[in-house]
């Protein structure tokens, strides 16, 4: 009787439903004396409102009524309070603002009637107010319930903490809940709530949740007799293991034995924890997920047992289903997919990997869309394992077929992703051709991404460059609107760097431009290439210089301003390449529509080019308009764009032959200096902007400077930012920034004026190689507060090895957000993703300033505007030792001034912060109060934002 057919209603249900409708419709009339009659009437009224206006009117009437009841002289009884609070909640959930009633809800918390308490908690959970007075009252009520020893009350209180999860609650309860969780006399249901409540607090305030002495007892909850307790506890354990794998590693063997017991149990053994004949599917998935926090077990027996489990799960997939219900197959397959994820994570059992791949292969043709979707998705990760890459490739026809025939765009998207992931040199031409033909009908939502992928594959696997040029020009033809600047910059960059393809490129663009309607991007590429290499096809009378020029100029008037600007540059290049076109082109430049163009850029180009062509000698002209030099070798900026689009970690560029056999497209191995360059809007032919018009991205690493600066915000790293280490570096420059069981990151840095250099040392602590090691630095917050440039790191870090990376830093203006360092690498097949704040703080750019007491106070008075001063009074976090304090203040970068402050206990400092644009004078005064263990810190700076930031940074140092 518990089965609900999706969207299909039995007659019985239909009857029940219509009965219910009637009941609800008449309820206000028929109900009497029930718990919440008023609420039902009100809901009914709202439902009967014919218009939004009527609804708002009814709500306002109700709000006025409730307000008057709450304000009235007569004390309300618990029941009325509950009813009104519930009405307010309903109004809020309808989407209206509620600005009162919180106090009444808090009052309900201390009611001893369960139902009143419950509504109070629900209101608080949905509508928390940061009003500190209220939070204190709420916390008090929670505290009472937690110590009530009444399990239902305790659970309500724990649910509330888990639902709100605020920092204030963490401060109040984070130390109490672990005790409840492990205490021997705690009821199972309370344990379950406590575990998940703790998880929520850990997610909001990890610094406040310290498991310490409880660790081992929490891990042992995996052995608890009550399946519900294990199910709840494992979510907590998984989260804690991710953050502190070493402390929790004993969970591996416990998880394996629990999993083994579940997997081998008969479908009835677990009673109510069996779901549609599948024993404990939720717990199984969670156990498999927990194991993915760790490398394969080292203990042979444990590993053997686990492999057995995984094999059993794979075997079960082949057994006939025990039920035809979709719930049965979903639960069973949920476990299967999680097992496959674990197999992929280990990436060490070829046999299991191939079995997983075959299983997914079966799903590729399953009639359930969901399974096809997941199989395509899961196979993407299998494609990057060396053990299964070939096995994945055997499914190419099925996947191509999915791309062509799937009716759901999200499934087609997965198919395109998989084709991209399985692509290598052997199948690149087929895959690129299929993707190109799919593009012609592809949904608009995925075209841009498809274009990027085709462009990347074409570049990566191009053995002959004419194929590459053809592919990109085809892209522009088929989906010109979706070809971003990166893509067409890139084709030009490659053509310029490869002289063996230049003639072919010139010929091909010339032909493409013959089409009566060609995309503007084609005109751009054509203009640029003919301007550089038109001479290579000028021998053929069908593409003589004048024919070329006339062809380009026939497109001119249909183009946007940036394209026209580019064409003007192409024309002046023509004058140099083909002196015979000079008169014609000068004529064009001279006409009013150019030389008096209302667009400043066009007008300026026309005037300057005309003048240049008239007065410069042939030699000068030839020098100025020389062929563009090769571009420094860079990682494809298209790849960077795709990464940004898809989010980090989402792009699995076929990594297997990352070494790019067969020569690089980009020619010379000479890696130019990685200067920050902004893509020039019109890809200036004259190279007036010195840097390449392509995003500067070094091979296989981040430092996507252009990408960081070219859009509003930096790509948000998906890994949670770890900033524990950050604050330790405010007053020092060298040390260990980060360390976990895999990786240690040390830094050394030096600063002079507004410049700095930081050496990062990445140490592989394991004995296993890190693959695809990449680092990316991005600057959040106010853009361009600092420029960072990096040399790339090697993509492989051997076990036990250390590699070094240098960052050059320039402080442009003052800033408060620190740059983010994102590190990604593969360890034993699993992608590791880590984000850290780099300890680049504004005080690093201090120059100490010595001054006398007189000068100091004179300047102090000059900086007397209220916003120039920032002050904080705070408790000492460390000992108040004089020498330590002095060392810290010196480490800050300022001059520590003696004999300035009349009180010898106080410290005063002075310095100037050097940014590129300005200097900011800063004065600091630190007044310790040894008795109270407090400090008062005052900063006065010539720029308010600097006072604020320094004050924030320093308040956490002493």
């Amino acid at each position: 009787a518990d089965v609900i057919a999706t969207a299909r209603w039995t007659n019985q249900r239909r009857a029940a439903l219509s009965q219910r409708k009637e009941a609800y419709a008449y309820m206000p009339a028929v109900s009497k004396g029930d718990g919440m009659r008023g609420l039902a009437v009100f809901i009914s009224d709202i439902r009967n409102c014919k218009s939004k206006e009527a609804e708002i009117k009814r709500i306002n009437k109700e709000l006025a009524n409730i307000r008057s009841k709450f304000k009235g002289d007569k004390a309300l009884d618990g029941y009325s309070k509950k009813k009104y609070v519930c009405k307010l909640l309903f109004i809020f959930l309808l989407g209206h603002d509620i600005d009162f009633g919180h106090m009444e809800a808090v009052n309900l918390l201390s009611s001893n009637k369960y139902t009143e308490k419950q509504i109070g908690y629900l209101f608080i959970s949905v509508l928390v107010n940061s009003n500190s007075e209220l939070i204190r009252l709420i916390n008090n009520a929670i505290k009472n319930d937690l110590s009530s020893r009444n399990p239902t009350f305790m659970c309500l209180a724990l649910h509330c903490i888990a639902n709100v999860g605020s920092r204030e609650m963490a401060e109040a309860f984070a130390s109490e809940i672990p005790r409840i969780l492990v205490a021997g006399d705690t009821m199972d249901s309370v344990k379950q709530s406590a575990a998940l409540c703790l998880l929520r607090l850990y997610k909001t305030s990890p610094d406040l949740v310290l498991m310490g002495e409880w660790t081992s007892r929490v891990v042992h909850l995996l052995n608890d007799q009550h399946m519900g307790v294990v199910t709840a506890a494992i979510s907590l354990i998984t989260c804690l293991s991710q953050k502190n794998p070493d402390e929790f590693k004993t969970c591996v063997s416990l998880a394996v034995s629990r999993l083994s017991r579940i997997v081998s149990s008969a479908s009835t053994d677990l009673q109510d924890y069996t779901y549609y004949f599948v024993p404990a599917p939720w717990l199984s998935c969670k156990l498999l997920r927990l194991l993915q926090c760790y490398p394969p077990p080292e203990d042979g027996a444990v590993k053997g047992r686990l492999v057995e489990c995984l094999e059993t799960i794979l075997n079960k997939a082949q057994e006939p289903p025990k039920s035809k219900k979709v719930q049965h197959s979903n639960a069973k397959n949920a476990i299967l997919f999680e097992a496959i994820s674990l197999i992929i994570h280990y990436d060490s059992e070829p046999n299991l990997l191939v079995r997983a791949c075959n299983q997914l292969g079966q799903f590729l043709q399953h009639r359930e869309t969901n399974l096809r979707y997941l199989a395509l998705e899961s196979m993407c990760t299998l494609a990057s394992s060396e053990f299964s890459h070939e096995a994945v490739k055997t499914h190419i026809e099925t996947v191509i077929n999915a791309l062509k025939t799937e009716r759901d765009v999200s499934v087609r998207q997965r198919a395109a992703d998989l084709l991209y992931a399985m692509c290598d040199r052997s199948n690149a031409k087929q895959i690129v051709a299929e993707m190109l033909s799919y593009l012609e009908t592809a949904d608009y939502s995925i075209r841009e991404e498809m274009v990027l992928k085709v462009a990347i594959l074409a570049e990566k696997y191009a053995v002959d460059y004419s194929w590459y040029v053809d592919t990109i020009l085809n892209l522009i033809r088929i989906a010109g609107d979706y070809v971003s600047e990166e893509v067409w910059y890139r084709v030009i960059q490659i053509v310029i760097n490869r002289d063996d393809v230049q003639g072919y490129a010139a010929k091909t663009v010339f032909e493409a431009l013959q089409a009566p309607a060609c995309h503007e991007n084609m005109v751009k590429v054509g203009g640029y290439i003919l301007g550089e290499f038109g001479n290579l096809i000028a021998g053929d009378p069908r593409s003589s210089p004048l024919v070329q020029f006339n062809l380009l100029h026939s497109k001119f008037h249909l183009c946007s301003v940036p394209t026209r600007a580019l064409l003007l540059s192409a024309y002046i290049k023509f004058i140099n390449l083909f002196p015979e076109t000079k008169a014609t082109i000068q004529e064009v430049l001279r006409c009013d529509s150019q030389i008096r163009n209302s667009d400043v850029e066009l007008q300026q180009r026309a005037v300057e080019y005309l003048k240049l062509s008239s007065i410069a000698s042939t030699d000068v002209l030839a020098t100025v308009l020389e062929e563009m030099p090769p571009f420094p070798e860079r990682e494809s900026s298209i790849l960077a764009k795709l990464k940004k689009k898809k989010g980090p970690g989402a792009v699995s560029v076929p990594e297997l032959d990352d070494k790019r056999e067969g020569g690089e497209l980009n020619g010379g191995g000479d890696r130019g200096p990685d200067t920050a360059s902004t893509p020039s809007p019109s890809a200036d032919l004259l190279g007036i902007r010195s840097a390449a018009p392509i995003g500067a991205t070094p091979t296989s690493t981040g430092s996507l400077l252009v990408d960081v600066f070219s859009e509003a915000g930096p790509a948000a790293p998906s890994a949670a930012v770890n900033d524990d280490g950050f604050l330790r570096f405010v007053c020092k420059n060298n040390g260990v920034l980060f360390e976990n069981q895999l990786l240690q990151i040390g830094i050394k840095s030096e600063y002079r004026q507004n410049l700095g250099r930081m050496y990062l040392f990445y140490g592989n602590k394991t004995s296993v190689q890190f693959a695809s090691f990449t680092t990316t630095v991005s600057c959040p917050g106010e853009l361009q507060s600092h420029i960072l440039s990096t040399k790339p790191v090697e993509p492989l870090v051997e076990g036990g090895a250390q590699i070094q990376q240098v960052l050059n830093i320039e402080c442009l203006t003052d800033f408060s957000e620190a740059p983010l360092l994102n590190i990604k690498f593969r360890y034993g097949g699993a992608l590791q993703n880590l984000s850290l704040k780099l300890p680049v703080t504004i005080n690093k750019f201090f120059q100490p300033t010595e001054m006398t007491s007189h000068d100091f106070f004179q300047r102090w008075k000059q900086l007397s505007q209220p916003q120039q001063e920032a002050q904080k009074i705070f408790k000492a976090n460390h000992g108040m030792d004089t020498e330590v304090l002095k060392a810290k203040l010196l480490g800050l970068g300022t001059a520590l001034l003696d004999d300035v402050d009349p009180n010898p206990e106080n410290y005063v400092c002075a310095g100037v912060i050097q940014t590129k644009g300005q200097q900011v004078g800063c004065l600091l005064r630190l007044e310790p109060n040894g008795q109270a263990q407090m400090y008062r810190l005052t900063l006065r700076c010539s720029k308010d934002s600097v006072s604020m930031r320094l004050c924030e940074l320093l308040a956490q140092q002493f």
Binding site: D2, I4, T6, A7, Q12, A16, R20, K21, A23, Y24, M27, D34, G35, R37, A40, R47, C86, L93, G95, K113, Y114, Q118, I119, L122, V126, T152, C155, A162, G165, Q192, S193, L196, C197, L199, R200, M227, G228, A232, S235, D272, Y273, Y275, P281, W282, L283, C285, K286, R289, Q292, N330, A331, N333, A334, E338, T369, N370, R407, D408, S410, S718
Partner: protein, 153 residues
Amino acid sequence: MQFMLLFSRQGKLRLQKWYVPLSDKEKKKITRELVQTVLARKPKMCSFLEWRDLKVVYKRYASLYFCCAIEEQDNELITLEIIHRYVELLDKYFGSVCELDIIFNFEKAYFILDEFLLGGEAQETSKKTVLKAIEQADLLQEVRPHVVTLHYE
């Protein structure tokens, strides 16, 4: 799980549960965007979609859509069964649940959800145990809500 939304075919939000801290404005924006996206999908399409950097898992039961947003590493199929188990719990509690039950007894729908999921993770997957907890709580109430008694008696 980051949040769960229940909404009707007409796009009316019937239940919202957020397991990550977000401003009211952000919640409304997400709801609007997601309701639109899901309602635009055709019946035979797959139940999962990528949305921002999350995965969305949804399923339609009669006039109601149940929609969960989960993280990158979470399991889509088991989330689908989370939804189903919640529907089963509602069904068992209300007795052939329908959208109106959830409208008129919204607080019950929240209570049941809190017994089943807490902080976005499964707290108790046994149907019996969850219902027992809720029914015990009901026994503690001095008067049972009329709506429920209507079809229980």
